[in-house]
């Protein structure tokens, strides 16, 4: 399960005891401010070096030959023509020494290898070429002659389970066991309900489509491998390479640095990285492998498509009596978490004593799914939050009020039903409704004429987002008062570096422009888990704070000796150390002799453990206003508001950016995006380009996008009081739009994307029904 990477259960040894945790901030001067990115200039000016920009002396460029069929067996590969082409330095195939690398692990062991002749999806790797230029590499790829035996394929989850369906793996087409969950007694719950509604919903497969496609540069320094990688986590890439290439950890250095988005698709090592490393070894030259957009559509992850049947019971007074969900999903041709966490919102978002879920994950001949911004949650919310709307209508209750009635204080799906460390769900709904003008907007709904207007609400949570150990951060304070922040975490473009620097600045009073950041390099920065699961801020910021405090402690001790006072009476303020007892006793940082003598102070900070018996979980509520053109099926989202509880808002600007990104991605899920496979003929993806795969544009998002941080400081969670934001910010967006569409035109939209193709059909059908 890809989600495993998100949750760390065993607390590692360096984790300090809870008693050693610093006291919470009462007021802050830097944290919480609206500040631009510390690396904004580099990113905008082009000075930032992304993996795709790395150029090394003597470097070769690689390209990958991929299977053009949904399902095929490679019978013969003839590289003789390609080998003789100008500029070609090496060709790597299944037969090459060292290429026998096992791949795609299931419980039973690896299901495949680097260049498995049995290609189970379009885009599966068949060979790699390194040449002097990218063009020569691609010319050579085109010149490799491959004889394929094309096999029958399965392009749909339902087809995969039909008797006689082609078996993608020896064991058949089921990916793992059926996942089951139950609490209470759903039958009794439905019997006790005044209203029972059942509906089938589905979400299309989405592609991550980060701006920067996957890229790696590999170089061998003797027996040591150095890899530049566009990744969310340098340490997971390092451990992946160590395992696959059978090298000691000390011999693999992974450098992350700037990267242009990942959304979950860059959490673990990919085949292209290993191909680059092997080609670099063969040629004894550095090799760059930068995937094309087409390749990134096929082979490096997606959000699995899910079909969800949801049945719900409710009493007239708004009490939920039962929820029952069955899910069929597919993570592609290899275990990809096709249904992972899809039922979590059903289990945990609302108070309900009787819940039963059953999730079936199957293989199809398509690229493997990977964690995608809140795995499973947007799919589950698409179903649950439309269902909540349907129930509210049936019992004649306002949808906000109905949700408020069912806000839980405990995590019902976690064993022992522990309380949440904080829950802002109620506040998100109330504050969001107030700021959106929910009641008035509902009254303003236009249900006559060709252009209808309506509003919708949806809520959500993200089961991760608490973060936790391990995390180690080092802060160095130089004698001139400038500082160095050293952390292993990646900054996906979300603002991680900015937020961590703000924490250091808060504690040490060093201005942001005097903080130099070293990050995401296994050779020079400390261990960090991947930046995923919305856990980077709650994981790393307490460690950054602890490191800064360690520095401060040492600095005050040095200053105390110099000023002949006790360290306890000293405070650090505006670059000066001042006695609280006698303000004439003070010294600037640059004047601390011991620091000058030593050159710098090194502070080390660790992430403390999470509280026992508490569940840390971010929440959110989204409100959408739409106009539906009933003549054309066009939907225009005219207004959107997101109220998020992610604990303390560490930087209002990055908070807003993350949330607006989440909204936009949710609008993509709701309205425009979906992988389309040529289901009945070839199984190939027909819309693998920017034009046919429709990411929302500036014209598809409302000008008015309001983000409301519900600034609840969660000091039970950690010492900076923040919870995760990136993922919860996208969970409720799509169903809020669907509910608004229903409110506007009375048509329920159970399947994504709700584009004019789909909505026009639904509107025409509803007109016919009268």
């Amino acid at each position: 399960m890809p989600d495993d990477r998100y949750y760390v259960t065993d607390v590692p040894p360096e984790t300090p005891e809870p008693a050693d945790q610093p006291a919470p901030w009462t007021t802050t001067t830097v944290v919480g401010k609206r500040l631009p990115r510390v690396d904004g200039y580099e990113r905008v000016s082009g000075a930032a070096v992304y993996t795709a920009d790395v150029v090394l002396p003597d470097m070769l460029y690689a390209a990958v030959l991929r299977c053009p069929h949904a399902h095929a067996m490679v019978r013969k590969i003839d590289t003789s023509k390609a080998e003789k082409m100008p500029g070609v330095a090496a060709i790597l195939t299944d037969k090459s020494p060292g290429a026998d690398v096992p791949w795609f692990n299931a419980r039973t062991g690896p299901l495949s290898r680097l260049f498995d002749p049995h290609c189970r999806y379009e885009g599966e790797e068949v060979a790699g070429v390194a040449a002097e230029t990218p063009y020569q590499a691609w010319d050579a790829v085109r010149a490799i002659a491959v004889e394929y035996e094309v096999l029958p394929f399965v392009a749909d989850a339902e087809d995969a389970l039909k008797p006689g369906a082609v078996a993608i793996h020896q064991g058949g087409n089921r990916s793992g066991d059926v996942t089951r969950y139950a609490r209470g007694d759903v039958d009794a719950g439905f019997a006790a309900a005044d209203v029972v509604v059942e509906q089938i919903y589905s979400t299309a497969c989405e592609i991550h489509a980060p701006t920067e496609t996957h890229a790696s540069v590999a170089r061998w320094d003797g027996n040591r491998l150095v890899v530049w990688d566009s990744t969310q986590g340098v340490y997971p890439i390092q451990s992946g390479l160590v395992q696959l290439l059978k090298l000691p950890s000390s011999s693999v250095r992974v450098i992350g640095h700037y990267m242009g988005g990942g959304f979950g698709s860059k959490l673990s090592v990919s085949k292209h990285t290993v191909i680059a490393a092997l080609l670099a070894k063969m040629t004894a030259r550095p090799v760059k492998l930068h995937l094309t957009r087409e390749e990134s559509f096929l082979a490096v992850g997606n959000r699995p498509p899910d079909t969800m049947t949801l049945k719900a019971g409710v009493k007239k007074d708004g009490t939920l009596t039962a929820l029952q969900m069955t899910v069929l999903g597919t993570g592609g041709a290899y275990p990809g978490g096709g249904v992972g966490s899809v039922d979590w919102v059903v289990r945990d978002l609302y108070t309900c004593p009787n819940v039963k879920t059953e999730l079936t994950d199957v293989f199809i001949n398509a690229g493997q799914a990977r964690a995608f911004r809140a795995p499973g949650h947007p799919q589950g919310a698409w179903a649950l939050e439309q269902m909540m709307d349907q129930l509210a209508e049936r019992i004649g209750m306002d949808p906000v009020e109905f949700r408020l009635k069912n806000v839980p204080m405990v995590s019902q799906a976690t064993s022992g039903t522990p309380p949440y460390s904080s829950t802002g769900l109620k506040a998100c709904l109330e504050e969001g409704a107030k700021r959106f003008g929910w009641s008035e907007a509902r009254k303003r709904a236009r249900t006559e004429g060709p252009i209808r207007r309506g509003v919708g609400v949806a809520a959500g949570l993200w089961r991760g987002g608490g973060g936790g150990p391990p995390a180690t951060i080092i802060v160095k304070l130089f004698a001139d008062g400038s500082a160095n922040l050293n952390m292993g975490a990646s900054d996906l473009g979300t603002g991680t570096k900015t937020v961590m620097a703000m924490v250091v600045s808060e504690e040490l009073g060093v201005p942001l422009e005097k903080i130099q950041i070293e990050w995401a390099d296994t050779a020079t920065t400390q261990y960090a888990t991947a930046s995923g699961g919305s856990k980077t801020v709650p994981t790393e910021s307490p460690a950054a704070r602890a490191a800064a405090l360690d520095v401060k402690q040492q600095l005050l001790t040095m200053a105390a000796a110099q000023l002949k006072v006790t360290p306890e009476e000293l405070v650090l303020k505006n670059g000066e150390i001042v006695s609280t007892a006698d303000s004439s006793k003070k010294v600037a940082i640059a004047g601390v002799n011991a620091l000058r003598g030593r050159g710098l102070i090194v502070g080390v900070g660790y992430r403390g453990p999470n509280p026992e018996g508490k569940v840390i979980c971010p929440f959110g509520a989204h409100f959408a206003e739409v106009e539906v053109n009933t003549r054309t099926g066009e939907v225009k989202v005219t207004r959107f508001l997101a109220a998020q509880d992610s604990g303390r808002a560490m930087n209002e600007l990055t908070y807003e950016n993350q949330t607006q990104g989440g909204i936009t991605m949710g609008l993509g899920l709701a309205l425009t995006e979906g992988r389309i496979l040529d289901r009945s003929q070839t199984g190939k993806m027909v819309n693998r380009n920017w034009h046919d795969y429709k990411i929302p544009t500036a014209m598809d998002v409302p000008v008015e996008q309001i983000v409301i941080p519900i600034d609840l400081h969660d000091y039970q969670a950690n010492s900076t009081a923040a919870k995760g934001l990136g993922e919860p910010a996208t969970v409720p967006a799509a169903p809020a739009v669907a509910n608004a569409i229903y409110n506007a035109c009375g048509v329920r939209t159970p399947d994504t994307p709700v584009n004019p193709l789909r909505l026009m059909g639904l509107l025409a059908a509803s007109k016919k029904r009268g």
Binding site: A63, P68, P134, Y135, W138, D139, R142, T292, P450, N629, T630, R631, T632, G633, E634, T672, I676, D678, R679, S680, Q681, T682, K684, V686, N687, R688, N689, W690, H691, D692, K694, P696, T697, A698, M699, D700, N755, P756, L757, R758, M760, G761, L763, A764, K767
Partner: protein
Amino acid sequence: MVPGFTYVRAKSVADGVRQLAAPGAKLHAGGTDLLGCLRDGVFKADRLISVSGLKELRGIAPVPAGGLRIGALTTHAQVVADKTINERYRALAQASAAVASPQLRNQGTIGGNLCQRPRCWYFRGDFHCLRKGGDHCYAEGGENQYHAVFGGHKCYIVHPSDTAPALIALGARVRIAGPGASRVVPLASFFVGPAKMITKETILEKREILTEILLPAAEPDLRSSYRKVRARGSFDFALAGIALALLIKDGKVARARVVFSGVAPVPWRSEPVEQAITGKALTPDVVAAAAEAGVKGAEPLEKNGYKVPLLEGIITESLLALA
């Protein structure tokens, strides 16, 4: 990655025509469509003959006898910014503004827009379909949600251009230079459907260059519009569109030209709609009847049935807007 090619600049239209005789030569204007086709392997080109430097092919100017000449290399952005076009030929201004995205409108030319290749995803993908010289159409029994409901015949592309229907509605003609004397043809007969020819969309021969678009003088009572529905707000082709050019006199439609986009392999002139409104005031009843007439005879494939009510919807909306 785009396979290698030789790039040469034509010194004049005549030089371009000469150079196009080379084997594997293709004309290059803004390159926005051409380079995509080469990258996707839709067709091959060994040699690109670029006319992008020829100033005489750029610009918008009035014709002494009345009307307007638009050079083939005029960009969409230039068309959108032109005062006369905005005032007198609104359908064209609206159509050009609805093309693609700002970057593409700055680079793409109106001539290239008329000559661009279709967007059928099988055609653009690595499927050796009928239009590429293969032996069958993948769309007919496959993923045909974006395909034609009118005029399909063995191949079911929709013509991708937004400007073509607007120009046809406005009565445009085009001048074509070739090895002999140049010829001028009505734009409506510039396009050919699959029943006549499957591997090409226009009458252009290999060594021909479209040099200019000629618009007739706009009558004072001319009202025109272009409306396009797409699956995404920008950077997207028409699911269905409609260009109207109506001469309205004394509250009645004296002459009508109605052309659909996004529903047929060529810009689709709808005589049924024209007949349903000519001589009449655009009352709700007349418009409803016209919308119904407009979709009569539509033959949807398995997945594009939505185009029928959609087309009905935009016929209604657009006619009422001009009433």
